[in-house]
Subunit: 342 residues, 2 copies
């Protein structure tokens, strides 16, 4: 049943014309008689001819494919970014090869390697939490492959970057908690070699300082991963302190959810005994009980913008290209896991 796909040469032979003529006819070149065109077109349809993009790519050195590397695909955040990317590049006729590094530096390296061999036209990358060296990215840059870094920054690596103002988001959240009367605000922070986590922590600290609150090291608990289980564990520790917190600002919603569950277990009331704020504003967050106050990020737009910049860079790559740096603004969404302002 498996038969060889038909080629331009097949058509040429059957019609007793040259392959070039067929190629031109298929591309509707003006220098081909209508007669020939019609004949070619018809036979092409009949033979179910489909151009072999591999051959075309080999010839003009462009695959119309871009590689996307994310730490993981199952999180709402990255899945939505990808969705935005997809919708953007599709119009331009680009395909996506999506890969997850599983937060591993080695896997990330290998993925870039492999995709390079396939000659993707550009990369969209959010580095793993273990990535601290960027040689693999430098290599891409050296070879002239456009790269856009998104969400998680790669310090000292020059490229187009589309990031979120995590500092601002965190600052807003904590400043708000303070204004609602919280005095001992804890932070469950993420891996500190991720810029996003650094910036959120800094935003937290600066909000405390600005409001004249003392900084207590014990109130900062760092988690390895980003799951609710991580949040549960961190929260238990915080609640076991001699002076437990009256608010928790969590690195993300998943962790916040874990925190809420532990707090409920202990019979404490949210937000009366303790306020909770998350980060990401996942779709479910408003459905929790109480609904979760969280920092919303323009995730879909992040994907759209990153890919637009990449496509632009690919289409038009002068020697004096100036890297773009975009910082998107997050927004605090106030719900019932924190107290109202008045």
């Amino acid at each position: 049943m498996k038969r060889r796909p038909s080629t331009i040469t097949d058509i040429a032979k059957a019609l007793n014309v040259s392959a070039s003529t067929v190629s031109r006819a298929l591309h509707d070149s003006p220098s081909i008689s209508q007669e020939t065109k019609d004949a070619v077109m018809e036979l092409a349809k009949q033979l179910n001819y489909q151009p072999n993009m591999l051959a075309v790519s080999l010839l003009n050195k462009r695959t119309k494919t871009i590689g996307v590397i994310v730490p993981e695909i199952t999180s709402y955040f990255f899945a939505t970014v990808i969705s935005g990317v997809q919708d953007m590049v599709e119009e331009a006729g680009f395909k996506l090869i999506i890969c997850q590094s599983n937060e591993s530096y080695e896997e990330e390296q290998k993925l870039i390697e492999t995709l390079s061999l396939g000659r993707v036209d550009g990369f969209l990358i959010s580095p793993s939490s273990k990535t601290t060296k960027f040689d693999h990215l430098e290599k891409l840059r050296a070879s002239g492959t456009p790269v856009v870094v998104f969400d998680r920054d790669c310090p000292n690596f020059e490229a187009d970057k589309v990031l979120v103002d995590d500092y601002d988001g965190a600052f807003q959240a904590v400043d708000y908690l303070i204004k609602t009367g919280c005095k001992r605000i804890a932070h469950i922070s993420g891996p500190q070699n991720l810029t996003t986590c650094q910036h959120r922590k800094k935003g937290y600290l600066d909000a405390l300082k600005k409001n004249g609150l003392e900084i207590d090291e014990l109130l900062n608990s760092e988690v390895e991963g980003f799951t609710s289980e991580d949040g549960e564990e961190a929260t238990r520790k915080l609640l076991d302190l001699n002076l437990p917190p009256d608010a928790i600002f969590a690195i993300n919603d998943a962790v916040a959810i874990g925190a809420m569950s532990v707090i409920r277990e202990r019979g404490m009331k949210i937000p009366d005994d303790i306020s909770i704020v998350g980060f990401d504003d996942e779709p479910y967050s408003k459905y929790f009980n109480p609904s979760l106050t969280s920092v919303w990020q323009p995730v879909y737009d992040l994907g759209m913008l990153s890919s637009r910049i990449l496509m632009n860079h690919i289409a038009n790559d002068p020697d004096d290209y100036e890297y773009r740096y975009e910082l998107l603004k997050p927004e605090l969404i106030i719900r019932n896991s924190s107290k109202p302002l008045f």
Copy 2:
């Protein structure tokens, strides 16, 4: 800065040998002197030579790439399936091109078309909820491209299939609700041209019948999408009935979550006034308040198995290939949104 990647010919010229020799040396062919090999290897490293997979693919007609088409990538279900697929095929050196049809038949068609041009070695497909004709898939089959259909069946289309026993999952859920004393059990069903939704509905109906409960058409509310918002709307209707239900079996967790929120709004108690059961057992479901009883599916395994079957089919494709049909078993996870058995 953008320089042409070096090729086998570059190395050959520099070393005054033929391209074939270089090719053989790079592949560590036994018929090449160690001397030459060393020289080639060294220069290759020096020039940062990377084989052009496009050329290789063009030659041996295999791209080591498989196309994955899902309705949407942002749902926990499909994202996790993809994760399983990724982990499986990676070992075999395959890449993934992941695309979402956005539940549109047209987009699905176009995606298959485009990926075919790129000569992917096989397809992993879960059809859109609008897909009722399978000509696009038949075309693939005719061209000899292996296709594995997963989760959502394509009736009358012959292919490898890896599905979940949705009927069984639904039956378990509803049977359990009845055993805990529920008498008026509603079902919020999904688009009925999806086999998954059909089967869940049938499981629901059969469980009622088997237990001698009357079937009330009013207790079945069908939603278009799979979001919590859809669930809210459907639930409002159900609660507004003259004889409202004392339990709701929802097509998935997202819908169930929406249902819970409406029920809380109305001041009713879960599960005392009304029990809720979802489907998918998403990671957050156990963190809701009350935690959600749900039907768990072996999602990751679904991805692993589907891709294993596909890779197998690709590697070894005799004329008398027998399509495989796998039906994975779901499992009811009992939590606090439903009453205990005793």
